[in-house]
């Protein structure tokens, strides 16, 4: 079981409160987590990564286990603590004006 923490606006959009829990078969990567997340919450498609390029949106970052994973390959294995559910994958919006 994988745990994901979404930014507040995306929790509201998905009408979901708290951590999202996802089951993933196969390697636990950012791509696999986002695929599973968007499958469960289709309204999140395009909000975390671009529809066509699948690139992470520039004002979002991925963190886990106190590490910034934003610039790792989306196919790189996530830390074991995330894969086992001990730690969540954090999707964090930039603290930027407005």
């Amino acid at each position: 079981m994988i745990r994901v923490v979404l930014p507040a606006h995306l929790r509201t959009l998905a009408s979901f409160h708290g951590e999202v829990e996802l089951e993933i078969s196969g390697p636990v990567t950012v791509r696999a987590v986002l695929d599973a997340l968007e499958e469960r919450f289709p309204m999140l498609r395009g909000t975390i990564r671009e529809h066509v390029t699948q690139q992470r949106r520039p004002f979002l970052r991925f963190f886990a286990c106190s590490e910034d994973l934003s610039h790792d390959s989306p196919d790189a294995p996530l830390p074991d603590a995330v894969a086992t559910g001990a730690e969540p994958l954090l999707i964090i919006g930039a603290i930027a004006g407005g």
């Binding site: 930014p7 995306l10 395009g46 909000t47 529809h51 949106r57 979002l60 930027a96």
Partner: protein
């Protein structure tokens, strides 16, 4: 009992303002989509409870929301806008070639006949259509592939397709406008397009009378006379009596002819409204006095409408999609400001009052007249 519903898009959410036909007591609901930019909210003319909203943010990109109950509840619809083929390049601010990139939806225009069909004007400029209630979107790419695309360039707000006007008498005819490319018309339902900018003169571009490159801010039409168009250009208020084939300036006695919003009275096709703004570098009313100007002669002769509007120390802007009219017997006129006020007039502009004063900066105002 008749009534009106005012759909307000702001920098931090959408608001729905409703009143009965007296337009004295208002119910204000919102913010919907709190914290997001709502560039535009508009209802279907054939189903007043079907609303579409463009919701976006710099963090999370573009969403489209849909309501089937007049804005009480909403559901996310499709947000996948993919250009048809290789997008190519347009001009960047410095004249260099810049790749076409989707940024946001500026304007949603529901079909005049089918509540499931809606058009979207986007940045970087292109026109999209959905025929399934905004779930799936397809580009009407004949516009972008017209051939002049590489000469289009962004205005200060981006290279946006911000105006879509559907001809109520000719379902094959569509008008659009782009900053800063100009106005275009299709006579075949959006398959092919021609620029309709003859008569425009823009001193800020290398060829002031170029076929494309004009910063058209907004256009308006009265449904009884779809061949007559009014335009607020960057500078200049313009009029065409032949569906855009030729424009003539009707700025007349306006104190400044820079501005964004323009609209037409619901029952008087020659009565036009603009909100003059001081200049392209000072986006607020002249002399700090918020004045709507009305022409009852289709332009050239304008009168200032000031009763109920602040006449000192007012430095707000009124953006291009932030003015609308209702079609009650005494035509109501509405506009929103970047200071968060939504003003209304029940008597075609003679007297004004604020429905709300302290919303986030208003991006768009659309009005539905309820039976």
């Amino acid at each position: 009992m008749s009534g009106v519903r005012v759909l307000v898009g702001t920098k931090k959410g959408a608001f729905v303002l409703t009143s009965d036909g007296k337009r004295e007591k208002w119910d204000v609901r919102g913010p919907h989509f709190a914290g997001w930019e709502l560039y535009h909210v508009k209802g279907s003319p054939v189903d007043v409870n079907r609303l579409y909203a463009s919701q976006s943010s710099g963090w999370f990109g573009q969403l489209i929301q849909r309501s089937n109950d007049g804005g009480m509840t909403w559901e996310p619809a499709g947000n996948k806008f993919v250009y048809d083929g290789v997008p190519g390049t347009h001009q960047w601010y410095d004249g260099t070639a810049h790749p076409w990139e989707f940024k946001r939806v500026w304007h949603l225009e529901p079909s005049l006949t089918d509540p499931e069909t809606v058009y979207a004007g986007i940045e970087d400029a292109a026109l999209f259509i959905s025929k399934d209630g905004a779930h799936n979107w397809e580009e009407l790419s004949g516009l972008r592939k017209h051939g002049s695309g590489p000469k289009w360039q962004p205005g200060a707000g981006g290279m946006c397709l911000h105006t879509i006007i559907l001809d109520p008498k000719n379902p094959s005819r569509i008008f659009i406008a782009i900053s800063a490319a100009g106005a275009f018309r299709s006579d075949d339902g959006g398959a092919t397009w021609q620029p309709i900018n003859r008569g425009l003169k823009s001193q800020y571009i290398p060829d002031p009378e170029a076929e494309v490159g004009h910063c058209v801010h907004h256009m308006a039409m009265h449904k009884s006379r779809p061949g007559v168009l009014f335009m607020q250009k960057h500078w200049d208020v313009m009029r065409s009596d032949n569906a855009g084939d030729l424009w003539t300036e009707v700025s007349g006695n306006l104190p400044t002819d820079f501005g964004f919003a323009i609209d037409v009275h619901a029952h008087e096709p020659e009565t036009v409204y603009v909100v003059p703004i001081k200049s392209d570098s000072e986006h607020y009313p002249l002399d700090g006095q918020l004045r709507v100007y009305r022409s009852k002669s289709g332009g050239n002769e304008w009168e200032a409408l000031t009763k109920g509007l602040p006449q000192s120390n007012c430095y707000v802007n009124v953006l291009r999609d932030a003015m609308s009219v209702d079609s009650l017997e005494s035509c109501g006129v509405y506009f929103g400001t970047t200071g968060g006020q939504v003003y209304a007039s029940k008597d075609a502009g003679d007297n004004w009052f604020p429905i709300v004063r302290d919303l986030p900066a208003v991006l768009s105002v659309e009005v539905q007249t309820l039976a």
